[in-house]
Symmetry: C2
Subunit: 191 residues, 2 copies
DNA sequence: AACCTAGCCTACCTGTAGGTAGGTAGAGCG
DNA sequence: CGCTCTACCTACCTACAGGTAGGCTAGGTT
């Protein structure tokens, strides 16, 4: 993925910045001083900030696909898979960060063209994986939701993204995320 | 509140910007050209951008309190009140905007000191009103949730904030918010 | 008439944003 | 050995960020 080591470090650092400050609140200068090169050198790897954004989001999306594919490959139950999925968000929260996708979605109107589509794709990808997994649980008789899997999926993702954002503003306590998780599994009914 | 007409217009405009672009993605220049004065004149009303942020958030919080007090004064059922509360978010979504509080919470780490606390207060205020209203519904026998009202409240607020952010990135379709609402009332059980 | 204040202005400052131009040291290859 | 490519550099540019200093004007006060 990351063509070179430096490019990788730049993306790592940029990702951290996005998850903590937002796309518009970090500069090439911030990146440069963190990675240990000059701002001009960043342009060698990412000619414009838009390119950095696109690359970052693309990588993040691939990472999601990989992670979910691995999860699917495991022989866990749908419920266990969903718990693990929520666990990823818990890990993010633990770092006092928010989701890259959530951060960028909040800044959506200010994003360069190409980045927006990546954000949209990421959301759709997440939702459809959740919905698919819920469906599997329904087929297995594990769940009996009163709402369509698609609706429950959308609701979960919104809850997770919102939980990360809100919990950070409330001393970073994990209760919000826990509540979202519990209420999600209750909506699925039948354990 | 707004001492003068211009100050009010500045706050209105700033609020729109925050709800669409985020606190770091609009400048005094943007404000000035929208309101029809010079950037320097804005400093007369709000010496620093931090002051603008504080004033904006303070006003937004007062507006919330007023709105909720009015809602409480009406003789509606807890369920109707909650539906109306969610309706406010739907209205925001209809404008392709996100919640001021959600936007600022996403930019939290970059906010000037005083603004952060206002954001936190806003969240706590919203959550506690929701929880209080749920409790009233429980006492009235309208709801029988399996989770504590506090937990359900946190989950709803997270869902609402997340829904605004995500739905805008998905062509602004209202389904996400609808799903959050439905799943919320299901969690409350017993209609 | 002399003054004060509110509300705006012009003009300017410093710092930083993203980005460009062109150069250079070193690795790898023919 | 000379060439080329990668990955960085210095030096610079324009635009804009938030903010300051000080002046003008209109409407009251006294």
């Amino acid at each position: 993925m990351a063509a070179t080591k430096t490019a990788g470090e730049l993306l790592d650092t940029a990702q951290r910045f996005v998850q903590h400050r937002g796309f518009n609140a970090f500069s090439y200068k911030d990146l440069a001083s963190e990675v240990g090169i000059r701002t001009a050198s960043i342009h060698y790897h990412f000619p414009a900030k838009a390119d950095l954004g696109k690359a970052l989001m693309a990588r993040y999306r691939v990472a999601l696909d990989t992670t979910l594919a691995k999860l699917d490959a495991s022989n866990r139950s749908p419920k266990a898979k969903l718990k693990q999925f929520i666990g990823f968000y818990r890990a993010t929260q633990g770092m006092g960060a928010i989701c890259v996708c959530g951060s960028l979605a909040a800044d959506l109107e200010t994003l360069p063209e190409g980045v927006r589509d990546e954000v949209t794709d990421y959301i759709k990808g997440s939702e459809s994986w959740i919905a698919k997994t819920i469906k599997a649980g329904v087929d297995a008789g594990d769940f009996e939701p009163d709402l369509s899997p698609t609706a429950v999926a959308a609701s979960l993702l919104a809850g997770l993204q919102g939980a990360l954002i809100l919990s950070r503003a409330r001393d970073g306590a994990p209760e919000v995320l826990n509540s979202v998780e519990k209420s999600f599994f209750l909506t699925l009914a039948a354990s």
